[in-house]
Protein backbone atom coordinates (compact mmCIF):
# COMPACT_ATOMS: atom_id res chain seq x y z
CA UNK A 1 0.00 0.00 0.00
CA UNK A 2 1.50 3.24 -1.14
CA UNK A 3 0.97 6.59 0.59
CA UNK A 4 0.95 8.65 -2.60
CA UNK A 5 -1.40 6.36 -4.54
CA UNK A 6 -3.89 5.76 -1.76
CA UNK A 7 -3.31 7.97 1.30
CA UNK A 8 -6.39 7.38 3.46
CA UNK A 9 -6.17 3.58 3.88
CA UNK A 10 -2.41 4.02 4.40
CA UNK A 11 -3.04 6.41 7.30
CA UNK A 12 -5.74 4.14 8.74
CA UNK A 13 -3.44 1.15 8.52
CA UNK A 14 -0.57 3.06 10.13
CA UNK A 15 -2.82 4.32 12.94
CA UNK A 16 -4.22 0.83 13.57
CA UNK A 17 -0.71 -0.63 13.85
CA UNK A 18 0.33 2.20 16.16
CA UNK A 19 -2.68 1.82 18.47
CA UNK A 20 -2.38 -1.97 18.51
CA UNK A 21 1.29 -1.69 19.43
CA UNK A 22 0.21 0.34 22.46
CA UNK A 23 -1.65 -2.75 23.66
CA UNK A 24 -5.22 -1.60 22.98
CA UNK A 25 -7.81 -4.24 22.10
CA UNK A 26 -8.78 -4.67 18.46
CA UNK A 27 -12.47 -3.83 18.98
CA UNK A 28 -11.57 -0.64 20.77
CA UNK A 29 -9.20 0.42 17.99
CA UNK A 30 -11.85 -0.21 15.32
CA UNK A 31 -14.45 1.81 17.24
CA UNK A 32 -11.95 4.60 17.84
CA UNK A 33 -11.01 4.77 14.15
CA UNK A 34 -14.68 4.88 13.12
CA UNK A 35 -15.20 7.71 15.61
CA UNK A 36 -12.21 9.63 14.26
CA UNK A 37 -13.43 9.11 10.71
CA UNK A 38 -16.94 10.31 11.58
CA UNK A 39 -15.62 13.42 13.34
CA UNK A 40 -13.26 14.21 10.47
CA UNK A 41 -15.99 13.84 7.82
CA UNK A 42 -18.44 15.98 9.80
CA UNK A 43 -15.81 18.64 10.52
CA UNK A 44 -14.58 18.62 6.94
CA UNK A 45 -18.09 18.92 5.56
CA UNK A 46 -19.00 21.78 7.89
CA UNK A 47 -15.80 23.71 7.16
CA UNK A 48 -16.18 23.02 3.46
CA UNK A 49 -19.63 24.60 3.70
CA UNK A 50 -18.15 27.99 4.57
CA UNK A 51 -16.21 27.84 1.29
CA UNK A 52 -19.35 26.69 -0.52
CA UNK A 53 -21.31 29.67 0.78
CA UNK A 54 -18.60 32.03 -0.45
CA UNK A 55 -18.44 30.31 -3.84
CA UNK A 56 -22.18 30.30 -4.21
CA UNK A 57 -22.48 34.00 -3.42
CA UNK A 58 -19.61 34.85 -5.76
CA UNK A 59 -20.92 32.74 -8.65
CA UNK A 60 -24.45 34.00 -8.02
CA UNK A 61 -23.13 37.54 -8.15
CA UNK A 62 -21.53 36.90 -11.53
CA UNK A 63 -24.70 35.30 -12.88
CA UNK A 64 -26.75 38.29 -11.85
CA UNK A 65 -24.25 40.90 -13.05
CA UNK A 66 -23.04 41.84 -9.58
CA UNK A 67 -19.69 41.50 -7.89
CA UNK A 68 -20.64 39.28 -4.97
CA UNK A 69 -18.66 39.48 -1.72
CA UNK A 70 -15.45 41.42 -2.37
CA UNK A 71 -14.36 43.17 0.85
CA UNK A 72 -12.94 40.60 3.27
CA UNK A 73 -9.72 39.13 1.94
CA UNK A 74 -8.76 38.65 -1.72
CA UNK A 75 -11.96 38.21 -3.85
CA UNK A 76 -13.91 38.35 -0.59
CA UNK A 77 -12.78 34.82 0.19
CA UNK A 78 -12.98 35.29 3.98
CA UNK A 79 -16.50 36.70 3.85
CA UNK A 80 -18.17 33.52 5.16
CA UNK A 81 -15.61 33.22 7.93
CA UNK A 82 -16.42 36.76 9.04
CA UNK A 83 -20.13 35.92 8.84
CA UNK A 84 -19.53 32.76 10.84
CA UNK A 85 -17.70 34.66 13.59
CA UNK A 86 -20.48 37.21 13.67
CA UNK A 87 -23.14 34.55 14.00
CA UNK A 88 -21.23 32.97 16.91
CA UNK A 89 -21.44 36.19 18.88
CA UNK A 90 -25.15 36.74 18.37
CA UNK A 91 -27.64 36.40 21.16
CA UNK A 92 -29.75 33.29 21.56
CA UNK A 93 -33.33 34.49 21.59
CA UNK A 94 -35.95 32.12 22.92
CA UNK A 95 -39.34 33.57 21.98
CA UNK A 96 -42.19 33.37 24.49
CA UNK A 97 -44.32 30.26 24.29
CA UNK A 98 -41.89 28.08 22.35
CA UNK A 99 -41.71 24.38 22.94
CA UNK A 100 -38.14 24.17 24.27
CA UNK A 101 -37.05 20.69 23.27
CA UNK A 102 -38.41 20.57 19.69
CA UNK A 103 -37.30 24.17 19.14
CA UNK A 104 -33.71 23.44 20.10
CA UNK A 105 -33.59 19.95 18.62
CA UNK A 106 -34.68 21.05 15.13
CA UNK A 107 -31.48 22.87 13.98
CA UNK A 108 -29.28 20.01 15.20
CA UNK A 109 -31.45 17.42 13.49
CA UNK A 110 -31.47 19.45 10.27
CA UNK A 111 -27.68 19.39 10.02
CA UNK A 112 -27.39 15.80 11.28
CA UNK A 113 -29.85 14.56 8.66
CA UNK A 114 -27.65 15.96 5.91
CA UNK A 115 -24.34 14.85 7.41
CA UNK A 116 -25.66 11.32 7.91
CA UNK A 117 -25.83 10.92 4.13
CA UNK A 118 -22.03 11.32 3.96
CA UNK A 119 -21.66 8.11 5.96
CA UNK A 120 -22.53 5.91 2.99
CA UNK A 121 -21.03 7.87 0.09
CA UNK A 122 -18.05 6.12 -1.55
CA UNK A 123 -15.56 8.96 -2.07
CA UNK A 124 -13.10 6.70 -3.85
CA UNK A 125 -12.56 3.01 -4.38
CA UNK A 126 -11.15 2.57 -0.91
CA UNK A 127 -12.54 5.55 1.05
CA UNK A 128 -16.09 5.18 2.30
CA UNK A 129 -17.73 5.32 5.70
CA UNK A 130 -19.94 2.30 5.69
CA UNK A 131 -20.90 0.03 2.82
CA UNK A 132 -24.40 -0.98 3.91
CA UNK A 133 -26.30 -3.01 1.36
CA UNK A 134 -29.32 -0.67 1.39
CA UNK A 135 -27.45 2.59 0.73
CA UNK A 136 -30.07 4.16 -1.55
CA UNK A 137 -32.93 3.41 0.86
CA UNK A 138 -30.78 4.83 3.66
CA UNK A 139 -30.35 8.13 1.80
CA UNK A 140 -34.10 8.42 1.29
CA UNK A 141 -34.85 7.48 4.90
CA UNK A 142 -32.42 10.11 6.19
CA UNK A 143 -34.28 12.65 4.07
CA UNK A 144 -37.31 11.77 6.19
CA UNK A 145 -35.39 12.87 9.28
CA UNK A 146 -34.79 16.23 7.62
CA UNK A 147 -38.54 16.61 7.18
CA UNK A 148 -38.92 15.80 10.87
CA UNK A 149 -36.52 18.64 11.69
CA UNK A 150 -38.66 21.07 9.68
CA UNK A 151 -41.83 19.93 11.46
CA UNK A 152 -40.12 20.29 14.85
CA UNK A 153 -38.98 23.81 13.95
CA UNK A 154 -42.39 24.84 12.70
CA UNK A 155 -44.25 23.41 15.64
CA UNK A 156 -41.78 24.42 18.33
CA UNK A 157 -41.59 28.07 17.25
CA UNK A 158 -45.17 28.83 18.31
CA UNK A 159 -45.57 31.07 15.29
CA UNK A 160 -48.24 30.68 12.67
CA UNK A 161 -45.98 31.66 9.81
CA UNK A 162 -43.43 29.10 10.95
CA UNK A 163 -46.13 26.44 11.17
CA UNK A 164 -47.56 27.26 7.74
CA UNK A 165 -44.05 27.36 6.32
CA UNK A 166 -43.29 23.95 7.81
CA UNK A 167 -46.47 22.51 6.34
CA UNK A 168 -45.64 23.83 2.92
CA UNK A 169 -42.02 22.69 3.14
CA UNK A 170 -42.95 19.17 4.20
CA UNK A 171 -45.67 18.96 1.55
CA UNK A 172 -43.10 19.92 -1.08
CA UNK A 173 -40.42 17.54 0.19
CA UNK A 174 -42.77 14.57 0.49
CA UNK A 175 -44.33 15.19 -2.92
CA UNK A 176 -40.99 15.35 -4.71
CA UNK A 177 -39.80 12.23 -2.91
CA UNK A 178 -42.34 10.21 -4.90
CA UNK A 179 -40.89 10.53 -8.43
CA UNK A 180 -37.38 10.53 -6.95
CA UNK A 181 -37.86 7.16 -5.27
CA UNK A 182 -39.54 5.68 -8.33
CA UNK A 183 -36.69 6.83 -10.56
CA UNK A 184 -34.06 5.47 -8.17
CA UNK A 185 -35.35 2.00 -9.01
CA UNK A 186 -33.59 2.29 -12.37
CA UNK A 187 -29.97 2.42 -11.09
CA UNK A 188 -30.90 -0.32 -8.63
CA UNK A 189 -32.19 -2.40 -11.53
CA UNK A 190 -29.07 -1.80 -13.64
CA UNK A 191 -26.58 -2.61 -10.90
CA UNK A 192 -28.61 -5.30 -9.14
CA UNK A 193 -27.85 -3.81 -5.75
CA UNK A 194 -28.94 -1.03 -3.42
CA UNK A 195 -25.44 -0.53 -2.00
CA UNK A 196 -23.79 2.64 -3.29
CA UNK A 197 -20.41 0.94 -3.72
CA UNK A 198 -21.89 -1.69 -6.02
CA UNK A 199 -23.79 0.97 -7.93
CA UNK A 200 -20.60 2.92 -8.57
CA UNK A 201 -18.70 -0.22 -9.51
CA UNK A 202 -21.41 -1.12 -12.04
CA UNK A 203 -20.98 2.23 -13.77
CA UNK A 204 -18.01 1.64 -16.07
CA UNK A 205 -20.36 3.50 -18.40
CA UNK A 206 -22.26 6.02 -16.26
CA UNK A 207 -26.00 5.45 -15.86
CA UNK A 208 -26.72 8.87 -17.34
CA UNK A 209 -26.04 7.26 -20.71
CA UNK A 210 -28.45 4.39 -20.06
CA UNK A 211 -31.25 6.42 -18.53
CA UNK A 212 -31.17 10.12 -19.39
CA UNK A 213 -34.86 10.73 -18.64
CA UNK A 214 -34.56 9.17 -15.19
CA UNK A 215 -31.45 11.25 -14.68
CA UNK A 216 -33.25 14.50 -15.51
CA UNK A 217 -36.21 13.61 -13.27
CA UNK A 218 -33.84 12.83 -10.41
CA UNK A 219 -31.98 16.09 -10.96
CA UNK A 220 -35.19 18.16 -10.89
CA UNK A 221 -36.38 16.33 -7.79
CA UNK A 222 -33.10 16.87 -5.97
CA UNK A 223 -33.26 20.60 -6.68
CA UNK A 224 -36.81 20.59 -5.31
CA UNK A 225 -35.68 18.62 -2.27
CA UNK A 226 -33.14 21.35 -1.56
CA UNK A 227 -35.86 23.95 -1.67
CA UNK A 228 -33.86 26.19 -4.00
CA UNK A 229 -34.96 28.35 -6.89
CA UNK A 230 -37.05 27.64 -8.93
CA UNK A 231 -38.53 25.62 -6.07
CA UNK A 232 -37.68 28.06 -3.26
CA UNK A 233 -41.24 28.33 -2.00
CA UNK A 234 -40.19 27.40 1.51
CA UNK A 235 -39.28 31.03 1.92
CA UNK A 236 -41.97 33.35 0.55
CA UNK A 237 -41.80 36.86 1.90
CA UNK A 238 -45.32 37.86 0.93
CA UNK A 239 -47.00 34.72 2.25
CA UNK A 240 -44.90 33.08 4.95
CA UNK A 241 -42.25 35.68 5.73
CA UNK A 242 -39.14 33.50 6.18
CA UNK A 243 -40.83 30.12 6.46
CA UNK A 244 -40.22 27.55 9.14
CA UNK A 245 -37.04 29.12 10.52
CA UNK A 246 -38.52 32.55 11.18
CA UNK A 247 -38.09 32.49 14.98
CA UNK A 248 -34.49 31.32 14.95
CA UNK A 249 -31.57 33.62 15.57
CA UNK A 250 -27.84 33.42 15.97
CA UNK A 251 -26.17 30.06 15.71
CA UNK A 252 -29.48 28.20 15.61
CA UNK A 253 -30.39 30.00 12.41
CA UNK A 254 -26.82 29.39 11.28
CA UNK A 255 -27.42 25.65 11.61
CA UNK A 256 -30.40 25.83 9.25
CA UNK A 257 -28.33 27.96 6.89
CA UNK A 258 -25.47 25.46 6.91
CA UNK A 259 -27.93 22.58 6.49
CA UNK A 260 -29.37 24.30 3.42
CA UNK A 261 -26.03 24.80 1.67
CA UNK A 262 -24.69 21.42 2.73
CA UNK A 263 -27.86 19.73 1.48
CA UNK A 264 -27.39 21.29 -1.94
CA UNK A 265 -23.81 20.04 -2.16
CA UNK A 266 -24.78 16.63 -0.76
CA UNK A 267 -27.44 16.16 -3.38
CA UNK A 268 -24.83 16.99 -6.03
CA UNK A 269 -22.66 14.23 -4.50
CA UNK A 270 -25.56 11.78 -4.48
CA UNK A 271 -26.37 12.62 -8.09
CA UNK A 272 -22.73 12.09 -9.06
CA UNK A 273 -22.61 8.77 -7.23
CA UNK A 274 -25.80 7.37 -8.67
CA UNK A 275 -25.83 8.67 -12.24
CA UNK A 276 -22.37 9.98 -13.15
CA UNK A 277 -20.31 7.04 -11.99
CA UNK A 278 -18.91 8.47 -8.76
CA UNK A 279 -15.17 7.84 -8.60
CA UNK A 280 -15.05 5.94 -11.89
CA UNK A 281 -12.65 7.33 -14.47
CA UNK A 282 -9.49 6.44 -16.37
CA UNK A 283 -6.68 5.09 -14.23
CA UNK A 284 -8.52 4.62 -10.92
CA UNK A 285 -7.62 0.92 -10.73
CA UNK A 286 -3.91 1.73 -10.44
CA UNK A 287 -4.16 5.02 -8.53
CA UNK A 288 -7.23 4.99 -6.24
CA UNK A 289 -6.63 8.57 -5.10
CA UNK A 290 -7.53 9.74 -8.61
CA UNK A 291 -11.07 8.50 -7.88
CA UNK A 292 -11.48 11.12 -5.19
CA UNK A 293 -10.38 13.81 -7.65
CA UNK A 294 -12.81 12.59 -10.33
CA UNK A 295 -15.58 12.53 -7.76
CA UNK A 296 -14.80 16.10 -6.68
CA UNK A 297 -14.66 17.41 -10.24
CA UNK A 298 -17.94 15.75 -11.24
CA UNK A 299 -19.66 16.93 -8.05
CA UNK A 300 -18.50 20.49 -8.55
CA UNK A 301 -19.76 20.45 -12.14
CA UNK A 302 -23.19 19.22 -11.01
CA UNK A 303 -23.18 21.80 -8.22
CA UNK A 304 -22.32 24.54 -10.70
CA UNK A 305 -25.24 23.44 -12.89
CA UNK A 306 -27.53 23.64 -9.87
CA UNK A 307 -26.26 27.15 -9.13
CA UNK A 308 -26.76 28.19 -12.76
CA UNK A 309 -30.37 27.04 -12.55
CA UNK A 310 -30.85 28.67 -9.19
CA UNK A 311 -29.63 32.07 -10.32
CA UNK A 312 -31.31 32.24 -13.71
CA UNK A 313 -34.74 30.61 -13.47
CA UNK A 314 -37.62 32.52 -11.82
CA UNK A 315 -39.59 30.73 -9.14
CA UNK A 316 -42.73 28.63 -9.57
CA UNK A 317 -46.04 29.33 -7.95
CA UNK A 318 -47.06 26.71 -5.40
CA UNK A 319 -49.80 25.24 -7.61
CA UNK A 320 -47.46 25.10 -10.62
CA UNK A 321 -44.90 23.31 -8.50
CA UNK A 322 -47.38 20.69 -7.33
CA UNK A 323 -48.76 20.30 -10.86
CA UNK A 324 -45.25 19.74 -12.21
CA UNK A 325 -44.69 17.02 -9.65
CA UNK A 326 -47.98 15.13 -9.69
CA UNK A 327 -49.09 15.65 -13.27
CA UNK A 328 -45.78 15.43 -15.11
CA UNK A 329 -42.86 14.00 -13.14
CA UNK A 330 -44.66 11.17 -11.34
CA UNK A 331 -46.39 9.66 -14.41
CA UNK A 332 -43.23 10.16 -16.44
CA UNK A 333 -41.18 8.39 -13.78
CA UNK A 334 -43.62 5.46 -13.64
CA UNK A 335 -43.61 5.04 -17.43
CA UNK A 336 -39.82 5.34 -17.58
CA UNK A 337 -39.29 2.66 -14.94
CA UNK A 338 -41.65 0.16 -16.58
CA UNK A 339 -40.36 0.73 -20.11
CA UNK A 340 -36.70 0.70 -19.06
CA UNK A 341 -37.22 -2.54 -17.14
CA UNK A 342 -38.86 -4.23 -20.15
CA UNK A 343 -36.28 -3.07 -22.69
CA UNK A 344 -33.34 -3.84 -20.42
CA UNK A 345 -34.67 -7.34 -19.78
CA UNK A 346 -35.20 -8.01 -23.47
CA UNK A 347 -31.60 -7.29 -24.52
CA UNK A 348 -28.72 -9.40 -23.22
CA UNK A 349 -26.20 -7.33 -21.28
CA UNK A 350 -23.21 -8.52 -23.31
CA UNK A 351 -24.36 -6.47 -26.30
CA UNK A 352 -23.43 -3.19 -24.67
CA UNK A 353 -23.74 -0.97 -27.73
CA UNK A 354 -27.15 -2.33 -28.78
CA UNK A 355 -28.36 -2.10 -25.20
CA UNK A 356 -27.31 1.53 -24.84
CA UNK A 357 -28.73 2.38 -28.25
CA UNK A 358 -32.10 0.75 -27.51
CA UNK A 359 -32.35 2.43 -24.10
CA UNK A 360 -31.44 5.80 -25.59
CA UNK A 361 -34.06 5.45 -28.33
CA UNK A 362 -36.69 4.42 -25.79
CA UNK A 363 -35.80 7.35 -23.55
CA UNK A 364 -35.99 9.74 -26.48
CA UNK A 365 -39.44 8.41 -27.43
CA UNK A 366 -40.67 8.79 -23.85
CA UNK A 367 -39.32 12.32 -23.69
CA UNK A 368 -40.87 13.38 -27.01
CA UNK A 369 -44.22 11.82 -26.09
CA UNK A 370 -44.23 13.61 -22.75
CA UNK A 371 -43.33 16.88 -24.45
CA UNK A 372 -46.07 16.36 -27.05
CA UNK A 373 -48.69 15.59 -24.38
CA UNK A 374 -47.78 18.66 -22.34
CA UNK A 375 -48.00 20.84 -25.47
CA UNK A 376 -51.44 19.46 -26.36
CA UNK A 377 -52.62 19.91 -22.78
CA UNK A 378 -51.39 23.49 -22.78
CA UNK A 379 -53.17 24.22 -26.08
CA UNK A 380 -56.46 22.91 -24.70
CA UNK A 381 -56.05 24.65 -21.33
CA UNK A 382 -54.31 27.92 -22.02
CA UNK A 383 -52.71 29.68 -19.07
CA UNK A 384 -54.97 32.39 -17.75
CA UNK A 385 -53.01 35.59 -17.50
CA UNK A 386 -53.85 37.37 -14.29
CA UNK A 387 -53.33 41.12 -14.55
CA UNK A 388 -54.63 44.19 -12.81
CA UNK A 389 -56.33 47.16 -14.47
CA UNK A 390 -54.25 48.55 -17.33
CA UNK A 391 -52.63 51.73 -16.11
CA UNK A 392 -50.81 53.61 -18.86
CA UNK A 393 -47.79 55.61 -17.85
CA UNK A 394 -47.79 59.39 -18.14
CA UNK A 395 -46.26 59.38 -21.60
CA UNK A 396 -47.15 62.09 -24.19
CA UNK A 397 -49.04 59.70 -26.49
CA UNK A 398 -51.38 58.70 -23.64
CA UNK A 399 -52.33 62.24 -22.74
CA UNK A 400 -55.72 63.51 -23.88
CA UNK A 401 -55.88 66.51 -26.25
CA UNK A 402 -57.11 68.90 -23.59
CA UNK A 403 -54.25 68.03 -21.28
CA UNK A 404 -51.77 68.51 -24.12
CA UNK A 405 -53.04 71.97 -24.76
CA UNK A 406 -52.80 72.96 -21.12
CA UNK A 407 -49.31 71.54 -21.00
CA UNK A 408 -48.26 73.70 -23.89
Amino acid sequence: MNFIYDPVPWVINWLTQLLLSWGLSENFVTTLLYLIGAVLICLGAMLFTTMLIWAERKIGGRFQDRLGPNRVGPWGIFQSIADMLKIFTKEYINPVGIDKIPFNLAPVLAVAAVLAVWAVIPFSQTVFGSNINVGILYIIAIGGLGEMAIILAGFGSNNKYALLGAFRAVAQLISYEVPMVIVLLIPVMFSGSMGLNEIVQAQTIPFIVYAPVACIIFFICSIAENGRAPFDLLEADSELVAGYNIEYSGLKFGMFFVADFLHAFTSAIVFTTIFLGGWQGPGVEQIPVLGGAYMLIKTLLVYFLMLAIRFTVPRFRIDQMMALNWKILTPLALVTVVVTALVDKAIPHEMTVIRIGALLVVNLIIWLLADRMITIYRKRNPVQVVTGKLRPLARPEFLSVAEKETAQ
Binding site: N27, T31, D99, P102, I132, N133, V134, L137, Y138, I140, A141, I142, G143, G144, L145, E147, M148, I151, L152, F155, L163, F167, V170, I174, G192, S193, M194
Partner: protein
Protein backbone atom coordinates in the same frame (compact mmCIF):
# COMPACT_ATOMS: atom_id res chain seq x y z
CA UNK B 1 -21.19 -6.46 29.30
CA UNK B 2 -20.26 -5.83 25.69
CA UNK B 3 -20.88 -2.62 23.81
CA UNK B 4 -23.68 -4.26 21.84
CA UNK B 5 -25.57 -5.16 25.02
CA UNK B 6 -25.12 -1.64 26.34
CA UNK B 7 -26.53 -0.11 23.15
CA UNK B 8 -29.39 -2.62 23.22
CA UNK B 9 -30.26 -1.72 26.83
CA UNK B 10 -30.20 2.01 26.08
CA UNK B 11 -32.31 1.58 22.94
CA UNK B 12 -34.77 -0.67 24.77
CA UNK B 13 -35.07 1.80 27.64
CA UNK B 14 -35.66 4.65 25.18
CA UNK B 15 -38.32 2.65 23.31
CA UNK B 16 -40.21 1.65 26.45
CA UNK B 17 -40.04 5.02 28.16
CA UNK B 18 -40.97 7.00 25.06
CA UNK B 19 -43.84 4.62 24.33
CA UNK B 20 -45.02 5.25 27.90
CA UNK B 21 -44.64 9.01 27.45
CA UNK B 22 -46.51 8.94 24.17
CA UNK B 23 -49.66 7.56 25.84
CA UNK B 24 -49.42 9.77 28.92
CA UNK B 25 -48.39 13.18 27.58
CA UNK B 26 -51.17 15.74 27.46
CA UNK B 27 -50.28 17.53 24.26
CA UNK B 28 -51.14 15.59 21.15
CA UNK B 29 -48.04 16.71 19.27
CA UNK B 30 -45.79 15.66 22.13
CA UNK B 31 -47.42 12.25 22.04
CA UNK B 32 -46.69 12.03 18.32
CA UNK B 33 -43.06 13.10 18.84
CA UNK B 34 -42.53 10.55 21.60
CA UNK B 35 -43.99 7.98 19.24
CA UNK B 36 -41.37 8.97 16.65
CA UNK B 37 -38.63 8.45 19.24
CA UNK B 38 -40.00 5.00 20.05
CA UNK B 39 -39.97 4.09 16.35
CA UNK B 40 -36.38 5.30 15.99
CA UNK B 41 -35.42 3.13 18.97
CA UNK B 42 -36.94 0.12 17.23
CA UNK B 43 -34.88 1.00 14.15
CA UNK B 44 -31.74 0.97 16.32
CA UNK B 45 -32.65 -2.49 17.59
CA UNK B 46 -33.10 -3.71 14.01
CA UNK B 47 -29.68 -2.29 13.16
CA UNK B 48 -28.20 -4.16 16.14
CA UNK B 49 -29.70 -7.37 14.75
CA UNK B 50 -27.83 -6.63 11.48
CA UNK B 51 -31.02 -6.42 9.43
CA UNK B 52 -30.14 -3.07 7.90
CA UNK B 53 -33.01 -3.36 5.42
CA UNK B 54 -35.60 -3.42 8.18
CA UNK B 55 -33.83 -0.68 10.11
CA UNK B 56 -33.87 1.63 7.09
CA UNK B 57 -37.42 0.73 6.10
CA UNK B 58 -38.53 1.36 9.67
CA UNK B 59 -37.14 4.90 9.48
CA UNK B 60 -38.36 5.43 5.93
CA UNK B 61 -41.93 4.21 6.36
CA UNK B 62 -42.71 4.97 9.98
CA UNK B 63 -40.70 8.12 10.70
CA UNK B 64 -40.60 9.51 7.17
CA UNK B 65 -44.22 8.85 6.26
CA UNK B 66 -46.58 7.60 8.94
CA UNK B 67 -45.36 9.78 11.81
CA UNK B 68 -45.44 12.87 9.59
CA UNK B 69 -48.96 11.92 8.52
CA UNK B 70 -50.01 11.58 12.16
CA UNK B 71 -48.47 14.95 13.04
CA UNK B 72 -50.16 16.60 10.06
CA UNK B 73 -53.48 15.04 10.96
CA UNK B 74 -53.31 16.16 14.60
CA UNK B 75 -52.17 19.66 13.69
CA UNK B 76 -54.83 20.15 11.03
CA UNK B 77 -57.84 18.57 12.72
CA UNK B 78 -57.63 19.35 16.43
CA UNK B 79 -58.34 22.93 17.30
CA UNK B 80 -57.05 22.60 20.84
CA UNK B 81 -53.83 20.65 20.81
CA UNK B 82 -54.01 20.04 24.54
CA UNK B 83 -56.15 17.65 26.55
CA UNK B 84 -57.37 18.84 29.92
CA UNK B 85 -59.59 15.94 30.83
CA UNK B 86 -58.79 13.24 33.32
CA UNK B 87 -56.26 10.71 32.09
CA UNK B 88 -57.67 7.82 34.14
CA UNK B 89 -61.12 6.33 34.29
CA UNK B 90 -62.76 3.74 36.54
CA UNK B 91 -61.38 0.80 34.63
CA UNK B 92 -57.75 1.83 35.14
CA UNK B 93 -57.08 -0.32 38.20
CA UNK B 94 -58.73 -3.36 36.70
CA UNK B 95 -56.80 -2.94 33.43
CA UNK B 96 -53.56 -2.60 35.33
CA UNK B 97 -54.20 -5.87 37.16
CA UNK B 98 -55.12 -7.72 33.96
CA UNK B 99 -52.14 -6.36 32.07
CA UNK B 100 -49.71 -7.25 34.87
CA UNK B 101 -51.10 -10.79 35.06
CA UNK B 102 -50.73 -11.25 31.30
CA UNK B 103 -47.21 -9.81 31.36
CA UNK B 104 -46.20 -12.08 34.24
CA UNK B 105 -47.71 -15.04 32.43
CA UNK B 106 -45.84 -14.22 29.25
CA UNK B 107 -42.55 -13.85 31.11
CA UNK B 108 -43.16 -17.10 32.96
CA UNK B 109 -43.96 -19.08 29.84
CA UNK B 110 -41.10 -17.53 27.89
CA UNK B 111 -38.63 -18.53 30.63
CA UNK B 112 -39.03 -22.14 29.67
CA UNK B 113 -38.53 -21.40 25.96
CA UNK B 114 -35.05 -22.64 25.03
CA UNK B 115 -34.47 -19.98 22.34
CA UNK B 116 -34.42 -17.31 25.04
CA UNK B 117 -31.35 -18.77 26.70
CA UNK B 118 -29.28 -19.12 23.53
CA UNK B 119 -27.02 -16.31 22.39
CA UNK B 120 -27.62 -14.63 19.05
CA UNK B 121 -25.34 -15.82 16.29
CA UNK B 122 -24.14 -13.51 13.52
CA UNK B 123 -25.94 -14.02 10.22
CA UNK B 124 -24.13 -15.60 7.33
CA UNK B 125 -23.34 -13.45 4.30
CA UNK B 126 -26.03 -14.92 2.04
CA UNK B 127 -28.70 -14.23 4.67
CA UNK B 128 -27.73 -10.56 4.75
CA UNK B 129 -28.41 -10.15 1.05
CA UNK B 130 -31.51 -8.06 0.34
CA UNK B 131 -31.97 -9.96 -2.92
CA UNK B 132 -32.93 -13.08 -0.96
CA UNK B 133 -35.76 -11.14 0.63
CA UNK B 134 -36.90 -9.85 -2.74
CA UNK B 135 -36.86 -13.32 -4.26
CA UNK B 136 -38.79 -14.72 -1.31
CA UNK B 137 -41.47 -12.08 -1.80
CA UNK B 138 -41.91 -12.78 -5.50
CA UNK B 139 -41.20 -16.52 -5.83
CA UNK B 140 -44.36 -18.64 -6.31
CA UNK B 141 -43.30 -21.10 -3.58
CA UNK B 142 -42.35 -18.20 -1.30
CA UNK B 143 -44.56 -15.39 -0.12
CA UNK B 144 -45.89 -14.23 -3.49
CA UNK B 145 -49.54 -14.82 -2.57
CA UNK B 146 -49.50 -12.99 0.81
CA UNK B 147 -47.52 -10.19 -0.82
CA UNK B 148 -50.07 -9.73 -3.59
CA UNK B 149 -52.98 -10.00 -1.15
CA UNK B 150 -51.42 -7.27 0.97
CA UNK B 151 -51.00 -5.03 -2.03
CA UNK B 152 -54.66 -5.56 -3.03
CA UNK B 153 -55.66 -4.73 0.55
CA UNK B 154 -53.65 -1.50 0.42
CA UNK B 155 -55.14 -0.62 -2.95
CA UNK B 156 -58.64 -1.21 -1.56
CA UNK B 157 -57.83 1.03 1.40
CA UNK B 158 -56.56 3.71 -0.97
CA UNK B 159 -59.66 3.62 -3.16
CA UNK B 160 -61.89 3.50 -0.08
CA UNK B 161 -60.27 6.59 1.41
CA UNK B 162 -60.63 8.47 -1.87
CA UNK B 163 -64.31 7.41 -1.99
CA UNK B 164 -64.89 8.63 1.58
CA UNK B 165 -63.11 11.92 0.95
CA UNK B 166 -64.65 12.50 -2.49
CA UNK B 167 -66.93 15.49 -2.63
CA UNK B 168 -69.98 14.65 -4.73
CA UNK B 169 -71.12 17.44 -6.95
CA UNK B 170 -74.77 18.31 -6.37
CA UNK B 171 -76.89 17.65 -9.43
CA UNK B 172 -78.30 20.85 -10.83
CA UNK B 173 -82.06 20.72 -11.14
Amino acid sequence: MTGMQLIFLIAAAVVVSSAFMSVTSRRMIHAALWFVLALLGVAVIYALLEVSFFAVVQVLVYVGAIAILIIFATMLTRRALEDHGKQFNRATLMTLVIVSVIFAGLVFSLRSWPQLQSMTAPLSADQLDVGVLGLALTAPDGFALPFEVTSILLLAALIGSIYVAYERKEKKK
